[in-house]
């Protein structure tokens, strides 16, 4: 299928689509296959740099965890009452990160936003892997990780059950559901692309993709069922994603502690989750665009849209954040107010102010088109936004422990040990290692959907002509 371009087409295009094009309709379909499949072959050097750096980080994290497992959680410098530390803060961070994948693939899918198509696959992969990373933190955090299965309601001789009242059990169920569903969603949406891989692979890889593609031949019946099923799962995923982070919020909101016992926590958490997820998408967008030479697919107009979306979510988060402060400030709970004041003026005040600055002021960079289209700036901004969101989680967990109900146990200067930092760093290594592996094994850009996108644009142009 070879399409030619002439001057008149461009003229018309300019008239009807005044904005820059998300993707060129002139990319040949075979070229799409070629470009995407190439990403699964020899990558740029940068790929190996990132991969090996991730592997090194991950190995260090494993070392820290083995040390902690052998010796006891004391090596993390956790204490009474600072019982959670970075583990839970980073757990929320990773859970939050997972939400944007759902946003891009499910919500925008339902709304037929075409520009999501080249980038939703990696966003979904990000969802899955960040959920896996978050799950690791649950394990890392447990005192007796070898007994973690007590949380699961499995039938047993003694009729001993977990405590269904506990938000942690809700967490386990919700995250389990979310992880299962998002793996299903990711895999299901990838089946047509896996068939492409199958058709172009040799040797054991062919076998592998043959098995995974479930006999996909692109028949009309397959397509019809696929469409309906995909849409249905997308519909399920949206409330699921909202419920998952609401439930993570209930870990805090359902408890009685000052600074946590806040009704607005669930929406606040969801907004924060989408926020950090979108920022992470920007980061990965830039990385993938460079590493796999996806300039033709991950185009600047798509980045521009993503950035605008991120900005909108940042403002929602800012609003909910202020609401949280305001409801505490004007509330009648003296203890919660003390904790809020402690956050703003106490030991952790620099982090609190940094979090507010990074979360609410820095995103204004996204409001400027020239900045939005400058990749290095966007890289830095997106990383800063994520740092801000990580600090937000840290500022939720730590000050309440340091300045809770019971003054005698207030801690002035608690700070995590290198083991905690090592495990947190290791989690980033684990995530990006998995992600990089995924990029090598699976198509990161949805080929069939990009073809659809190109085809629709091409037909539209034809109709206009």
């Amino acid at each position: 299928m070879i399409h030619t371009t002439d001057e008149s087409d461009i003229q018309i295009e300019r008239r009807f689509v005044p904005k820059a094009k998300d993707i060129s309709e002139d990319i040949a379909w075979a070229q799409i296959n070629k470009d995407v499949l190439r990403s699964m072959e020899r990558p740029r050097l940068m790929y190996w740099v990132i991969f090996l750096a991730s592997l090194a980080l991950f190995s260090f994290g494993v070392y820290c965890e083995v040390y902690q497992y052998q010796t006891g959680l004391g090596v993390a410098d956790l204490e009474n009452p600072q019982v959670w530390g970075l583990y839970i803060a980073t757990f929320i961070f990773w859970i939050g990160m997972s939400h944007s994948g759902t946003l891009l693939s499910a919500i925008l899918h339902i709304m037929h936003a075409d520009w999501r198509k080249p980038i939703y696959r990696f966003a979904e992969a990000m969802t899955t892997f960040s959920l896996m990373t978050a799950g690791l933190f649950v394990l890392v955090h447990l005192g007796r990780v070898w007994e973690f299965y007590y949380v699961v309601a499995y039938p047993n001789e003694r009729w001993v059950w977990p405590n269904f009242n506990s938000p942690l059990v809700w967490d386990a169920t919700a995250i389990g559901t979310y992880l299962t569903s998002s793996i299903v969603f990711l895999y299901f949406g990838m089946i047509p692309d896996l068939a492409i891989c199958r058709d172009n692979a040799k040797g054991f890889r062919k076998k592998f993709y043959w098995f995974l593609s479930l006999g996909w031949q692109g028949t009309d019946r397959q397509w019809a069922n696929f469409r309906v099923a995909y849409l249905t799962i997308a519909c399920f995923l949206i409330p699921l994603a909202v419920s998952v982070h609401s439930i993570v919020a209930t870990d805090f909101a359902v408890s009685q502690q000052p600074g946590w016992h806040i009704t607005s926590f669930p929406p606040y958490f969801v907004a924060g989750a989408l926020y950090s997820g979108c920022a992470a998408i920007i980061t990965l967008f830039i990385v993938l665009r460079y590493v796999f030479r996806f300039e033709a697919y991950m185009t600047m107009p798509i980045l521009d849209k993503t950035c605008r979306l991120t900005f909108a979510i940042a403002m929602v988060w800012t609003y909910l954040n202020l609401i949280e402060y305001a409801s505490v400030w004007y509330g009648n709970d003296e203890y919660a107010k003390q904790t809020l004041i402690f956050r703003a003026t106490g030991t952790y005040a620099p982090y609190w102010w940094a979090m507010n600055f990074l979360g609410s002021i820095v995103p204004f960079a996204l409001a400027f088109k020239s900045l939005r289209n400058h990749l290095p700036t966007m890289m830095v901004v997106s990383l800063l936004l994520n740092l801000g969101m990580w600090l937000e989680r840290f500022m939720i967990v730590t000050p309440t422990f340091a300045h809770g109900y019971y003054p005698w146990t207030w801690t002035g200067d608690w700070w995590p040990s290198w083991v905690q930092w090592g495990i947190v760093a290791g989690s980033f290594g684990w995530f990006s290692m998995l992600f990089m592996l995924f990029c090598k094994i699976f198509p990161t850009v949805s080929m069939y959907e990009v073809k659809e996108m190109v085809y629709h644009r091409f037909m539209a142009r034809k109709a206009r002509a």
């Binding site: 003296e334 019971y406 005698w408």
Partner: protein, 742 residues
């Protein structure tokens, strides 16, 4: 003591046999069933040992000199826990933290397990035969030592151990039993003796309606803290008594006061006389003191007193007014008032108030006379150590036996005890654990722990009547190579006087004979064995006796001109050591429970610290955790600063007891030893070391470290209702139900 050391393997063996028997029973008639054979347990549990059931045995606590009766919970032959013995009037069935930690003396991982001899500078474990041979070569029948050539250095000691020690020394024609107590109450005792005619009067705390205490820490480190705490509890019930504490640094008792005043150290006598002056304005008190004293007291007007002591002038008349209002009262002097160059005068001035207020016979009484004066404790002093130090320095002392005292650790630097000790050719330590002094000795003999040994104790403070406290083993010895002090002394005495002691095969026989001999005194009609069994079962032999009367020698109180404290430019701060109720002079620093038990006032654990008033700290820009160098004329120590509001602003305080260098894993390296910076100041009257008279300068070192404490980032309640306080006139205590009053 009937106990059996069932070890786990034996226990399993028993189970194994009965299991096998059960199997056999299923297969027809066995030789056991037919009666041809009998099954016998490998282990015959002794009486009262039922696996799984705890049994209680009475004994006596030896952690301090209070002589509390205790009950030891024994299970499967192991002593698990100590509790108070309700039979004992002193403990009243209660026990303090220090007493509880007695089991850790017994189970201490650093305990001595074999005798040791110094060879070529290092200790070498030897057998008891070898150790006793070494001992008897010097101190046995062939010994030529006599008189001052031999000395025994102990801590406070009473009962039959003391008697045997005395006999042992007598056999050398020596009376060189040196009783050393680094925290000796000798100055106060001397003042008591002078003013009231007795060394230690009985305090009727519960009968007082107002207690005015000058640094007397009767709840923490007094002569009998558990007993006095119970009295204090009754004192606080309706009609509720009021406690006013005046001291330079808040003690545990001060922390429980209704009103606490910070006073400049050493001016307590002036303040007491100021109150006396104020009281004498009431006509009814006018005749209580000799005229010349009344005349001299006129110099003590409240403004002068206020200037000297640093306490607001109104406080004097206020306290005097309360004393007048709330009778009977009780005025106490304590170590921080007594440990000065004029400490005796301070104490006497404070006691004078009791005479003025006519508290004699109401809240102050004499102790009942003891039927066995030879058993009563020899109370310690620092002058005794000074004498020994001189003798050692002059090379007079040829053999020294040390037990229960650790002068290498507690002697100040100007008493060069360690170097003088090296001049003694033969030094023997009797100890359950090596300490700094034992490390310097030539022969170390491992003693049984108090949980393994027999003994008798007589408390120096007998609240009512007389108690002879019996100590019995609560379990079998942990280490076969340890022996009791009594047994060793008896062996030595048998060498020197075989005839006199041949009737006693061991110390148990000696003590049993001695106690049963006392049967007529306790008016018992039972047989000797029954009497002995009863004594062991109750843990205490009680004799009711009326309290003795106290004398009144007001004239002995010297009332001079009220003198303000001199300031020392080089050493601007007063140095007030604080005595912790658990560590005392450091002898208990080897017990992990006590190390981990937070100091009640600062909540610091495992460490030393420098207490400094927040206003002073602010002036000097000192924050908590700054490492300060506390320097006196004789030395300096470094410790972390702790901002403490309960201290006079010109004063700094450090706790005693830490800073060990050879006392086992739990004591070594924890904190510093402030004994080493005391100035050579002595009480004028008694010659006792004045522990509270040191002046220091504080320097910041620029280093900083985290204070290891239980307290969090705040020590205020921050608007929460955690500890609520009610005014005494509001609470209707009389209507309340309470265990104490019943």
């Amino acid at each position: 003591m009937s106990s059996s050391n069932i070890d786990r393997r034996d226990f399993l063996r028993v189970l194994g046999i009965s299991g096998a028997a059960a199997t056999l029973a299923g297969c027809g008639n066995t030789s056991i069933e037919s009666g041809a054979e009998l099954v016998e347990s490998y282990v015959q549990p002794e009486d009262f040992v039922v696996p799984g059931v705890g049994v209680y045995y009475a004994s006596t606590c030896t952690q301090c000199g209070s002589g509390c009766g205790i009950m030891g919970r024994v299970r499967e032959g192991r002593i698990l826990k100590l509790e108070g013995n309700p039979q004992s009037l002193i403990s009243g069935g209660k026990i303090c933290g220090l007493g509880q930690a007695g089991v850790q003396v017994h189970y201490n991982p650093d305990r001595l397990t074999t005798p040791m001899i110094r060879e070529a500078g290092a200790f070498k474990p030897v057998s008891w035969d070898k150790a006793m041979a070494t001992l008897t070569a010097r101190l046995g029948s062939s010994s030529t030592l006599s008189g001052d050539q031999i000395a025994v250095l102990t801590g406070e000691i009473s009962g039959h151990q003391k008697v045997l020690l005395g006999h042992f020394l007598e056999s050398f024609k020596s009376a060189n039993h040196i009783v050393y107590d680094a925290l000796s109450p000798a100055i106060g005792q001397a003042a008591n003796k002078a003013v009231l005619g007795v060394e230690q009067p009985v305090l009727q705390i519960d009968k007082a309606r107002l207690i005015l205490s000058f640094g007397n820490d009767f709840l923490g480190t007094g002569p009998s803290p558990v007993h006095m705490a119970a009295q204090y509890a009754r004192f606080r019930k309706a009609p509720r008594g009021t406690l006013i504490q005046i001291e330079p640094r808040m003690t545990l008792t001060g922390a429980n006061a209704d009103r606490w005043y910070a006073i400049k150290p050493g001016t307590e006598g002036v303040f007491a006389l100021g109150i006396a002056h104020s009281l004498l304005q009431h006509q009814e008190y006018a005749h209580a003191v000799p005229a010349e004293i009344a005349e001299a007291l006129k110099q003590y007007d409240k403004d002068t007193v206020s200037e000297v002591t640093g306490i607001h002038a109104d406080a004097i008349s206020h306290i005097a007014g309360m004393l007048w209002e709330k009778s009977p009262s009780l005025v106490l002097s304590g170590p921080s008032a007594e440990g000065h160059v004029h400490g005796f005068n301070n104490a006497a001035a404070i006691l004078l108030l009791n005479l003025v207020l006519e508290n004699r016979g109401k809240t102050l009484q004499g102790q009942a006379s003891h039927p066995f004066p030879q058993l009563t404790p020899a109370s310690g002093s620092t002058t005794a150590l000074a004498k020994l130090n001189q003798a050692m320095s002059a090379g007079q002392c040829q053999a020294l036996l040390v037990m229960g005292a650790n002068p290498v650790f507690t002697a100040p630097t100007f008493v060069p005890f360690a170097s003088n000790l090296a001049k003694v050719p033969f030094k023997v330590a009797f100890a359950t654990q090596l300490d700094e002094t034992a490390h310097q000795c030539d022969l170390v003999l491992p003693l049984l722990s108090p949980m393994e040994d027999f003994g008798t104790h007589v408390a120096g403070y007998q609240p009512s009547g007389v108690e002879l406290a019996i100590q019995q083993p609560l379990m079998e010895r942990l280490y076969p190579e340890t022996r009791g002090l009594g047994d060793i002394l008896l062996d030595l005495l048998k060498q020197r006087q075989p005839e006199a002691y041949k009737a006693f095969p061991d110390y148990y026989a000696y003590i049993k004979t001695a106690v049963t001999k006392a049967k007529p005194v306790f008016k018992s009609k039972s047989s000797d064995d029954d009497f002995w069994e009863d004594a062991l079962r109750n843990g205490v032999l009680r004799l009711e006796a009326p309290p003795a009367a106290l004398e009144a020698h007001a004239a002995t109180v010297k009332v001079g001109k009220p003198q303000a404290l001199e300031t020392d430019v080089n050493f601007p701060f007063f140095f007030v050591p604080s005595v912790r109720a658990d560590l005392r002079d450091g002898r208990h620093a080897n017990l992990p429970w006590l190390q981990e038990s937070p100091d009640p006032l600062t909540t610091v654990v495992w460490d030393s610290w420098v207490e400094i008033h927040p206003t002073t700290a602010a002036q000097m820009q000192i924050r908590e955790g700054d490492i300060l160098e506390v320097q006196s004329a004789t030395g300096s120590v470094r410790a972390k600063a702790y901002l403490f509001p309960g201290i006079q602003p010109d004063t700094v305080s450090m706790p005693l007891g830490q800073g060990h260098t050879g006392y086992g894993r739990y004591a070594d390296g924890m904190g510093v030893n402030p004994f080493k910076i005391f100035d050579p100041m002595y009480d004028e009257r008694t010659g006792e070391l004045a522990l509270y008279a040191t002046r220091v300068i504080i320097k910041k070192t620029g280093e900083h470290a985290r204070v290891v404490k239980d307290e969090g980032a705040t020590n205020l309640q921050q608007g929460r209702k955690l500890v609520a306080t009610m005014a005494a006139d509001q609470a209707e205590l009389a209507k309340e139900i309470s265990r104490v009053t019943q």
